[in-house]
Amino acid sequence: MPYHEFEVSKCIPERKQHAVVKGPGEDLTSCLPKGYLNTIPGSISERGCAYCGAKHVIGTPMKDVIHLSHGPVGCTYDTWQTKRYISDNNDYQLKYTFASDVKEKHIVFGAEKLLKQNILEAFKAFPEIKRMTIYQTCATALIGDDVDAIAAEVKEELPDVDIFVCNSPGFAGPSQSGGHHKINIAWINQKVGTIEPKITGDYVINYVGEYNIQGDQEIMVDFFKRMGIQVLSTFTGNGSYDDLRTMHGAHLNVLECARSAEYICDELRVRYGIPRLDIDGFGHKALGDSLRKIGLFFGIEDRAEAIIAEETAKWGPELAWYKERLQGKKVCLWPGGSKLWHWAHAIQEEMGVKVVSVYTKFGHQGDMEKGVSRCGEGALAIDDPNELENQEALRNLKPDVIFTGKRPGEVAKKMRVPYLNAHAYHNGPYKGFEGWVRFARDIYNAVYSPMHQLSAIDISKDDYATDKGFVTRRMLSDANLSDEAKASPITGYSGKFDPIAAIRAKTDADYPVYPRRSAAEAAE
């Protein structure tokens, strides 16, 4: 096994099995780090907890719901306004968060009464919201509050409300991934099948493992609607609580982030016979193939082809413009789980960059299988890199840019490696054909920032020409390009600051109307 041992981790030898270098001739049977094991205390890992995996990652993107955490205020506060999952419900789920505010006396005497009062208060404050999710936290799980019983009691008293209970305290698993699992299983056990879907079309999907970061979901749903596909529910970005109770009524589960949501797809496949189709919404080829597959499944591939042709004609040239300028730039990928494999191959093929490392915060070995497969020889794969390992890797790999979270991004900045936010994006959305160009644009802007160039200079020592009043990105990126490339009429991304507003402004009249299939056709 081509394990990579970090100097800084020699004293914690168990870490050795968490990093590998993909050498020539290595494959998955010889090259795979360990994953999803308990974190080494004191190692300064970047992992979160199972509560945040359930509440913050998967629960809260549901848009028409009171999200109540049963515990002291901290868990709620900390997982509020640190993500960019927007919704077309005026961002209700982003703006409002609820904590039962457990205090010492409740720890001693129990907090069930407090919880009930909380639920009633919250529904009273927002009379238009009739759905609620409740999340256990460490403190209330340890004192053994029976949240299910309280929820049942309230439902009895308020027949028009519905409540979902997720028992995923922070300690329930090595990372946030434990919470992803718990909420997936809890949702299918408690909620799926409790109301019947309203089927309005012939082709019905659930869009799963998609969290509408900066509008990703809305971009993708727009494609589906242009194809005449009914999106019954989205699990969970911009998703509606009641729609998610009807997941059993779809013909196909279209799965993006398998890391966080494959469990529910697998269960839906076993329990209801709904197939699971894994797709990539990132990258022109991968997204095109994804739309083709969905089209093929329903016998409407031509509709997918029309969209792909239109979109790639529009955005392909700008992507190529960036690719020419990003050729060979070294990239470190340090997302949470799924983006390491969503991006590893696609950015190399379509943006010309070289992925020198793939890290995962909370991924499992399954994610690393995909990641290691999709990156090239020589790439360093690390499971749950800690602070010092990341710094050592950055010093050794000398990447031109790193895609990671906000806090590690600050570490990278100090080491003179520009960062892009892998979780929340810099200026997304990054899904869709246009979004992929936005991603390329953000990479380009980071790599060729004139400020970044200046930060390398020590004015007390370095001799550098001070004859220029400014330098543009083009002066830096085009220096070694051919005259033909330099003469390109393209000047980078041509889209708007916010591409989502235009989608939200669309009405049914803006989408093609396809005739419904006859019963005989449908039976085929």
Partner: protein, 462 residues
């Protein structure tokens, strides 16, 4: 009485103003040099606080977790702390101070952190790390007590308690700044140095605003040293500028080392800064220099340009840490403004007896509400459903959507202020802070006038 102090009458929290105690203890810990705290609890208790701090300061700070997982929650998790201390010390050879910060889960489990520290001192430290200076201390900060503010207060006291030593009486004062920004510390250090006073600054966080250096090696960290902490025990006087963020440490020093203390007032605004400067002068016997008279004059000159013309009678709501909120409210009154609603985001029973709040109750001649244990719904509900009209909001970034959704201009103050660039670099305390605040408030109102086309032409001839 026009000014009412009430406790929020709902039991729950809709949009919390504060996070919990461990966050305050963590913020204190990063102010100490060669210190990495271990938060004993789930990983989220650290990861999110590090994120929060990095959102506010746009810098990263090192704090470790004991990573309590399922088995620890069932069988006790002290072994996780043992490993954490060892791993941390092995991998961070510069680390000398390791606070073990507890959380709700480990307090509920009942892990005996104090006992463990004794065990580690006698075992691990004496054997494996013999010859290395390492200090372990327990900071008990269960999340179900108080808030991040009390967590900070407890942590400052615990650091002082751990290190303060009786030494030769010194001319130095202890300056406990409270939970402030690098810009505040810079301003406060400037004030004391103008007076020719030397101070043990808790915490020395000016360095949080750290550079991006060509060699890529700069890191952000606090600069309060073990020597500074030890010296607090022999200081001539303790100034705890914020009653609820350092007050406990001042009381401890007074009781244990008989060091007299001045607790508050928060030096926000000219008047409260004057109080600090006067007291500093009185205690140390150093005269107030002409430079500060001039500086004060420059501030008053700038403030006079905006106060009675633009700020007077403007209705303002203020939320956040009690010392900050009260200090701002006092200053707003000096600026002829009308604070309408003060939201104090935790259930500290001491607030009602705060002399500054008593003074507000005695003197405010219009209806003002002070809500304790408050959440953001106390503000939003009053605007949305009860007709509260405001010209301005003062507070931190977590309240940003109230400002946005109800079209009320807002000046970002306190912690965290991640949705505006560079707020942490500016002071709100001292004469410099008074100027900055008055001008920020005026500019926020000006932008709002233009945005709403509300007498925007007024500024043509200002």
């Amino acid at each position: 009485m026009n000014c009412q102090v009430k406790v929020k009458d709902r039991v729950g929290t809709i949009n919390p103003i504060f996070t919990c105690q461990p966050a305050g203890a963590q913020f204190a810990s990063i102010g100490v040099k060669d210190c990495i705290g271990i938060v004993h609890g789930g990983q989220g208790c650290v990861m999110f606080v590090r994120l929060l701090i990095s959102q506010h300061l746009k810098e990263s700070f090192e704090i470790a977790s004991s990573s309590v997982h399922e088995d620890g929650a069932v069988f006790g998790a002290l072994d996780r702390v043992e490993t954490a201390v060892d791993v941390l010390l092995m991998r961070y050879p510069h680390v000398k101070v390791v606070p073990i910060i507890t959380t709700c889960s480990t307090e509920v489990i009942g892990d005996d952190v104090d006992g463990l520290i004794t065990k580690l001192e006698e075992g691990l430290l004496a054997e494996k790390y013999a010859g290395r200076e390492v200090h372990l201390l327990a900071i008990h900060s269960p999340s179900f007590v108080g808030s991040m503010v009390s967590g900070y207060d407890v942590a400052v006291r615990d650091f002082v308690k751990k290190f303060a030593k009786k030494g030769e009486p010194s001319e130095k004062i202890n300056l406990l700044t409270g939970w402030v920004n690098p810009g505040d510390v810079k301003e406060l250090k400037h004030l004391v140095s103008e007076l020719g006073v030397e101070a043990n600054v808790l915490f020395e966080i000016e360095s949080f605003d750290s550079p991006l250096m060509p060699d890529g090696t700069a890191v952000s960290h606090g600069n309060t040293t073990i020597a500074d902490l030890e010296a607090t025990g022999s200081a001539m006087h303790t100034f705890a500028l914020n009653r609820y963020e350092g007050g406990k440490a001042a009381q401890y020093l007074e009781k244990k080392f008989k060091i007299p203390s001045t607790i508050g007032p928060t030096p926000i605004g000219i008047r409260n800064t004057d109080a600090l400067v006067k007291k500093l002068s009185q205690v140390t016997g150093k005269p107030i220099p002409a430079s500060l008279v001039k500086e004060r004059g420059i501030a008053l000159d700038a403030i006079s340009d905006v106060a009675h013309m633009f700020l007077a009678d403007k209705k303002v709501a203020i939320y956040g840490a009690a010392d900050l909120v009260i200090g701002l409210a006092e200053y707003c009154l000096d600026l002829e403004m009308r604070p309408q609603l003060l939201l104090l985001g935790d259930d500290n029973a001491g607030y009602v007896n705060d002399p500054r709040i008593k003074a507000l109750q005695d003197n405010v001649d219009y209806p003002m509400e002070i809500i304790t244990n408050a959440d953001f719904w106390e503000l939003e509900n009053r605007i949305k459903n009860e007709g509260l009209e405001l010209d301005l909001i003062l507070g931190h970034s977590k309240g940003r959507f109230i400002s946005i959704d109800y079209n009320i201009p807002m000046v970002r103050v306190g912690f965290p202020t991640y949705d505006r660039a560079g707020i942490y670099r500016n002071p709100v305390v001292g004469y410099g802070g008074a100027t900055w605040l008055a001008e920020q408030m005026a500019n926020a109102l000006f932008t709002d006038m233009e945005h709403k086309k509300n007498k925007e032409w007024l500024l043509n001839v200002w």
